[in-house]
Symmetry: C2
Subunit: 155 residues, 2 copies
Amino acid sequence: MRIIGIALIALCVTAPRVQAQESPAAARAGIDRFNKALEDATRRMDNAATLALWEDDGISILPQTAPIVGKKALTKFLDEVMAGIAGAKMESFALDCHDIEVTGTSATEWCNEHQIVQLAGDKKFDGRGRMLLVLHLSADGVWRMKREMWNQASP
Amino acid sequence: MRIIGIALIALCVTAPRVQAQESPAAARAGIDRFNKALEDATRRMDNAATLALWEDDGISILPQTAPIVGKKALTKFLDEVMAGIAGAKMESFALDCHDIEVTGTSATEWCNEHQIVQLAGDKKFDGRGRMLLVLHLSADGVWRMKREMWNQASP
Protein backbone atom coordinates (compact mmCIF):
# COMPACT_ATOMS: atom_id res chain seq x y z
CA MET A 1 0.00 0.00 0.00
CA ARG A 2 2.88 2.38 0.71
CA ILE A 3 4.12 1.91 -2.84
CA ILE A 4 0.63 2.52 -4.23
CA GLY A 5 0.37 5.60 -2.01
CA ILE A 6 3.69 6.99 -3.26
CA ALA A 7 2.72 6.19 -6.86
CA LEU A 8 -0.57 8.04 -6.38
CA ILE A 9 1.21 11.04 -4.85
CA ALA A 10 3.63 11.08 -7.80
CA LEU A 11 0.69 10.89 -10.21
CA CYS A 12 -1.04 13.78 -8.46
CA VAL A 13 2.10 15.93 -8.40
CA THR A 14 3.15 15.31 -12.01
CA ALA A 15 -0.27 15.41 -13.67
CA PRO A 16 -0.65 18.71 -15.54
CA ARG A 17 -2.96 21.04 -13.71
CA VAL A 18 -4.07 24.62 -13.94
CA GLN A 19 -3.66 26.80 -10.85
CA ALA A 20 -6.58 28.51 -9.14
CA GLN A 21 -9.08 26.75 -11.37
CA GLU A 22 -12.75 27.01 -10.45
CA SER A 23 -15.67 24.62 -10.78
CA PRO A 24 -17.63 25.06 -14.04
CA ALA A 25 -20.52 26.64 -12.10
CA ALA A 26 -18.23 29.09 -10.27
CA ALA A 27 -16.47 30.03 -13.51
CA ARG A 28 -19.80 30.62 -15.24
CA ALA A 29 -21.03 32.78 -12.36
CA GLY A 30 -17.77 34.77 -12.37
CA ILE A 31 -17.97 35.37 -16.12
CA ASP A 32 -21.63 36.40 -15.85
CA ARG A 33 -20.52 38.92 -13.20
CA PHE A 34 -17.81 40.18 -15.56
CA ASN A 35 -20.31 40.61 -18.42
CA LYS A 36 -22.75 42.47 -16.19
CA ALA A 37 -19.97 44.74 -14.89
CA LEU A 38 -18.75 45.45 -18.44
CA GLU A 39 -22.29 46.32 -19.55
CA ASP A 40 -22.82 48.60 -16.53
CA ALA A 41 -19.46 50.38 -16.85
CA THR A 42 -19.97 51.00 -20.58
CA ARG A 43 -23.54 52.21 -20.06
CA ARG A 44 -22.34 54.68 -17.41
CA MET A 45 -19.34 55.65 -19.62
CA ASP A 46 -17.26 55.04 -16.48
CA ASN A 47 -13.65 54.65 -17.65
CA ALA A 48 -12.30 53.77 -14.21
CA ALA A 49 -14.84 50.95 -13.84
CA THR A 50 -14.08 49.71 -17.36
CA LEU A 51 -10.32 49.73 -16.74
CA ALA A 52 -10.80 47.74 -13.51
CA LEU A 53 -12.19 44.95 -15.74
CA TRP A 54 -8.91 44.70 -17.69
CA GLU A 55 -5.79 42.72 -16.84
CA ASP A 56 -2.67 44.91 -16.61
CA ASP A 57 -1.30 43.34 -19.82
CA GLY A 58 -4.62 43.36 -21.69
CA ILE A 59 -4.72 43.96 -25.45
CA SER A 60 -7.55 45.62 -27.40
CA ILE A 61 -7.60 45.34 -31.19
CA LEU A 62 -9.89 47.75 -33.02
CA PRO A 63 -10.30 48.30 -36.77
CA GLN A 64 -7.77 50.60 -38.47
CA THR A 65 -5.98 51.10 -35.14
CA ALA A 66 -2.65 49.77 -33.86
CA PRO A 67 -3.20 47.21 -31.08
CA ILE A 68 -3.64 48.93 -27.69
CA VAL A 69 -1.37 47.03 -25.32
CA GLY A 70 -1.42 47.33 -21.53
CA LYS A 71 -3.52 49.26 -19.04
CA LYS A 72 -1.57 52.51 -19.46
CA ALA A 73 -2.27 52.58 -23.20
CA LEU A 74 -5.90 51.48 -22.63
CA THR A 75 -6.35 54.34 -20.14
CA LYS A 76 -4.94 56.88 -22.62
CA PHE A 77 -7.17 55.54 -25.39
CA LEU A 78 -10.36 55.71 -23.31
CA ASP A 79 -9.47 59.21 -22.04
CA GLU A 80 -9.05 60.38 -25.65
CA VAL A 81 -12.35 58.79 -26.72
CA MET A 82 -14.17 60.59 -23.89
CA ALA A 83 -12.45 63.92 -24.68
CA GLY A 84 -13.49 63.48 -28.32
CA ILE A 85 -17.17 63.12 -27.43
CA ALA A 86 -17.35 65.58 -24.51
CA GLY A 87 -20.95 66.12 -23.43
CA ALA A 88 -22.12 62.80 -24.85
CA LYS A 89 -24.49 60.61 -22.85
CA MET A 90 -25.12 56.90 -23.32
CA GLU A 91 -28.84 56.61 -23.90
CA SER A 92 -28.80 52.81 -23.93
CA PHE A 93 -26.25 50.03 -24.02
CA ALA A 94 -27.01 46.33 -24.35
CA LEU A 95 -24.51 43.49 -24.29
CA ASP A 96 -25.34 39.84 -24.91
CA CYS A 97 -22.59 37.26 -24.82
CA HIS A 98 -22.55 33.73 -26.22
CA ASP A 99 -20.72 30.41 -26.24
CA ILE A 100 -18.69 30.85 -23.07
CA GLU A 101 -15.91 28.26 -22.96
CA VAL A 102 -13.65 27.87 -19.94
CA THR A 103 -10.25 26.14 -19.87
CA GLY A 104 -8.73 26.43 -16.41
CA THR A 105 -8.01 30.12 -15.77
CA SER A 106 -8.78 31.14 -19.36
CA ALA A 107 -12.16 31.67 -20.99
CA THR A 108 -13.53 32.92 -24.28
CA GLU A 109 -16.90 34.24 -25.44
CA TRP A 110 -18.27 36.49 -28.17
CA CYS A 111 -20.75 39.29 -27.61
CA ASN A 112 -23.17 41.49 -29.52
CA GLU A 113 -23.40 45.10 -28.40
CA HIS A 114 -25.85 47.85 -29.30
CA GLN A 115 -25.29 51.42 -28.19
CA ILE A 116 -27.28 54.58 -28.64
CA VAL A 117 -25.32 57.67 -27.67
CA GLN A 118 -26.74 61.17 -27.41
CA LEU A 119 -23.98 63.41 -28.78
CA ALA A 120 -23.53 67.16 -28.38
CA GLY A 121 -25.63 69.24 -30.77
CA ASP A 122 -28.66 66.92 -30.77
CA LYS A 123 -26.88 64.29 -32.87
CA LYS A 124 -27.39 60.65 -32.06
CA PHE A 125 -25.08 57.68 -32.66
CA ASP A 126 -26.84 54.32 -33.03
CA GLY A 127 -24.25 51.58 -33.56
CA ARG A 128 -23.89 47.84 -33.27
CA GLY A 129 -20.76 45.76 -32.92
CA ARG A 130 -19.41 42.39 -31.94
CA MET A 131 -16.55 41.45 -29.68
CA LEU A 132 -14.42 38.36 -29.31
CA LEU A 133 -13.15 38.27 -25.75
CA VAL A 134 -10.48 36.26 -23.98
CA LEU A 135 -10.89 36.45 -20.21
CA HIS A 136 -8.51 35.44 -17.43
CA LEU A 137 -9.19 34.41 -13.86
CA SER A 138 -6.95 36.69 -11.81
CA ALA A 139 -5.25 35.63 -8.58
CA ASP A 140 -7.93 37.55 -6.63
CA GLY A 141 -10.63 35.27 -8.09
CA VAL A 142 -12.04 37.89 -10.47
CA TRP A 143 -12.39 37.30 -14.24
CA ARG A 144 -10.86 40.14 -16.25
CA MET A 145 -10.37 41.00 -19.90
CA LYS A 146 -7.11 39.76 -21.37
CA ARG A 147 -7.82 40.30 -25.06
CA GLU A 148 -10.61 42.00 -26.94
CA MET A 149 -11.27 42.47 -30.61
CA TRP A 150 -14.21 44.54 -31.81
CA ASN A 151 -15.72 44.87 -35.22
CA GLN A 152 -18.79 46.53 -36.65
CA ALA A 153 -22.04 44.61 -37.01
CA SER A 154 -24.87 45.29 -39.44
CA PRO A 155 -27.99 47.06 -38.08
CA MET B 1 -3.02 2.78 4.32
CA ARG B 2 -6.17 1.74 2.50
CA ILE B 3 -7.85 4.92 3.77
CA ILE B 4 -4.88 7.04 2.67
CA GLY B 5 -4.93 5.30 -0.72
CA ILE B 6 -8.64 6.00 -1.17
CA ALA B 7 -8.15 9.60 -0.03
CA LEU B 8 -5.34 10.03 -2.56
CA ILE B 9 -7.44 8.52 -5.33
CA ALA B 10 -10.29 10.89 -4.42
CA LEU B 11 -7.82 13.81 -4.45
CA CYS B 12 -6.53 12.82 -7.88
CA VAL B 13 -10.01 12.37 -9.30
CA THR B 14 -11.46 15.58 -7.90
CA ALA B 15 -8.47 17.89 -8.43
CA PRO B 16 -9.20 20.13 -11.43
CA ARG B 17 -7.07 19.09 -14.35
CA VAL B 18 -6.82 19.80 -18.05
CA GLN B 19 -6.78 16.80 -20.36
CA ALA B 20 -4.07 16.16 -22.93
CA GLN B 21 -2.08 19.21 -21.84
CA GLU B 22 1.36 19.66 -23.41
CA SER B 23 4.65 21.07 -22.13
CA PRO B 24 5.10 24.80 -22.89
CA ALA B 25 7.72 23.96 -25.55
CA ALA B 26 5.49 21.37 -27.23
CA ALA B 27 2.51 23.76 -27.21
CA ARG B 28 4.63 26.53 -28.71
CA ALA B 29 5.91 24.20 -31.44
CA GLY B 30 2.37 23.00 -32.18
CA ILE B 31 1.04 26.56 -32.45
CA ASP B 32 3.97 27.57 -34.68
CA ARG B 33 3.00 24.63 -36.92
CA PHE B 34 -0.60 25.83 -36.94
CA ASN B 35 0.46 29.38 -37.91
CA LYS B 36 2.69 28.11 -40.71
CA ALA B 37 -0.10 25.83 -42.01
CA LEU B 38 -2.62 28.70 -41.91
CA GLU B 39 -0.23 30.96 -43.81
CA ASP B 40 0.46 28.25 -46.43
CA ALA B 41 -3.21 27.32 -46.92
CA THR B 42 -4.26 30.95 -47.30
CA ARG B 43 -1.41 31.71 -49.70
CA ARG B 44 -2.42 28.73 -51.86
CA MET B 45 -6.14 29.67 -51.52
CA ASP B 46 -6.65 26.03 -50.56
CA ASN B 47 -10.05 25.88 -48.84
CA ALA B 48 -9.75 22.20 -47.89
CA ALA B 49 -6.41 22.85 -46.18
CA THR B 50 -7.83 25.91 -44.40
CA LEU B 51 -10.90 24.00 -43.20
CA ALA B 52 -8.67 21.21 -41.83
CA LEU B 53 -7.25 23.86 -39.48
CA TRP B 54 -10.68 24.55 -37.92
CA GLU B 55 -12.40 22.69 -35.09
CA ASP B 56 -15.82 21.31 -36.10
CA ASP B 57 -17.55 23.88 -33.84
CA GLY B 58 -15.30 26.81 -34.82
CA ILE B 59 -16.70 30.33 -35.04
CA SER B 60 -15.49 33.11 -37.36
CA ILE B 61 -16.64 36.68 -36.74
CA LEU B 62 -16.13 39.13 -39.61
CA PRO B 63 -17.26 42.76 -39.90
CA GLN B 64 -20.85 43.38 -41.00
CA THR B 65 -21.44 39.62 -41.19
CA ALA B 66 -23.43 37.28 -38.95
CA PRO B 67 -21.10 34.95 -37.00
CA ILE B 68 -20.16 31.90 -39.08
CA VAL B 69 -20.66 28.92 -36.77
CA GLY B 70 -19.43 25.40 -37.46
CA LYS B 71 -17.43 23.74 -40.20
CA LYS B 72 -20.42 23.34 -42.55
CA ALA B 73 -21.11 27.10 -42.49
CA LEU B 74 -17.38 27.88 -42.75
CA THR B 75 -17.14 25.61 -45.82
CA LYS B 76 -20.12 27.35 -47.48
CA PHE B 77 -18.65 30.77 -46.70
CA LEU B 78 -15.22 29.94 -48.15
CA ASP B 79 -16.80 28.36 -51.25
CA GLU B 80 -18.81 31.53 -51.83
CA VAL B 81 -15.75 33.74 -51.37
CA MET B 82 -13.84 31.70 -53.96
CA ALA B 83 -16.79 31.73 -56.40
CA GLY B 84 -16.96 35.51 -56.01
CA ILE B 85 -13.32 36.00 -57.00
CA ALA B 86 -13.05 33.25 -59.65
CA GLY B 87 -9.74 33.48 -61.49
CA ALA B 88 -8.02 35.34 -58.64
CA LYS B 89 -4.50 34.38 -57.62
CA MET B 90 -2.80 35.15 -54.30
CA GLU B 91 0.36 37.03 -55.24
CA SER B 92 1.65 37.16 -51.68
CA PHE B 93 0.38 36.44 -48.20
CA ALA B 94 2.24 37.12 -44.98
CA LEU B 95 1.08 36.27 -41.47
CA ASP B 96 2.88 37.25 -38.27
CA CYS B 97 1.44 36.28 -34.93
CA HIS B 98 2.18 37.68 -31.48
CA ASP B 99 1.75 37.15 -27.74
CA ILE B 100 0.91 33.44 -27.78
CA GLU B 101 -0.56 32.44 -24.42
CA VAL B 102 -1.35 28.83 -23.58
CA THR B 103 -3.68 27.60 -20.81
CA GLY B 104 -3.96 23.83 -20.92
CA THR B 105 -5.65 22.86 -24.19
CA SER B 106 -6.56 26.47 -25.04
CA ALA B 107 -4.35 29.18 -26.52
CA THR B 108 -4.71 32.70 -27.83
CA GLU B 109 -2.65 34.93 -30.11
CA TRP B 110 -3.20 37.91 -32.41
CA CYS B 111 -1.83 38.17 -35.92
CA ASN B 112 -1.15 40.74 -38.62
CA GLU B 113 -1.85 39.66 -42.19
CA HIS B 114 -0.99 41.29 -45.52
CA GLN B 115 -2.37 39.94 -48.76
CA ILE B 116 -1.91 40.97 -52.37
CA VAL B 117 -4.38 39.25 -54.67
CA GLN B 118 -4.30 39.41 -58.46
CA LEU B 119 -7.96 39.65 -59.48
CA ALA B 120 -9.54 39.01 -62.86
CA GLY B 121 -9.25 41.94 -65.30
CA ASP B 122 -5.78 43.06 -64.14
CA LYS B 123 -7.15 44.47 -60.87
CA LYS B 124 -5.13 44.01 -57.72
CA PHE B 125 -6.30 43.85 -54.10
CA ASP B 126 -3.71 44.92 -51.51
CA GLY B 127 -5.17 44.57 -48.04
CA ARG B 128 -4.06 44.30 -44.44
CA GLY B 129 -5.92 42.93 -41.46
CA ARG B 130 -5.58 41.65 -37.94
CA MET B 131 -6.96 38.55 -36.31
CA LEU B 132 -7.60 37.56 -32.73
CA LEU B 133 -7.45 33.77 -32.57
CA VAL B 134 -8.46 31.24 -29.95
CA LEU B 135 -6.88 27.85 -30.63
CA HIS B 136 -7.67 24.46 -29.15
CA LEU B 137 -5.48 21.38 -28.78
CA SER B 138 -7.56 18.59 -30.36
CA ALA B 139 -7.56 15.01 -29.09
CA ASP B 140 -5.23 14.07 -32.00
CA GLY B 141 -2.57 16.45 -30.65
CA VAL B 142 -3.07 19.11 -33.34
CA TRP B 143 -3.84 22.78 -32.52
CA ARG B 144 -6.86 24.04 -34.47
CA MET B 145 -8.85 27.24 -34.76
CA LYS B 146 -11.75 27.50 -32.33
CA ARG B 147 -12.57 31.18 -32.71
CA GLU B 148 -11.40 33.88 -35.07
CA MET B 149 -12.23 37.52 -35.37
CA TRP B 150 -10.81 39.62 -38.19
CA ASN B 151 -10.78 43.33 -38.68
CA GLN B 152 -9.19 45.69 -41.15
CA ALA B 153 -5.81 47.25 -40.43
CA SER B 154 -4.42 50.50 -41.79
CA PRO B 155 -1.91 50.27 -44.67
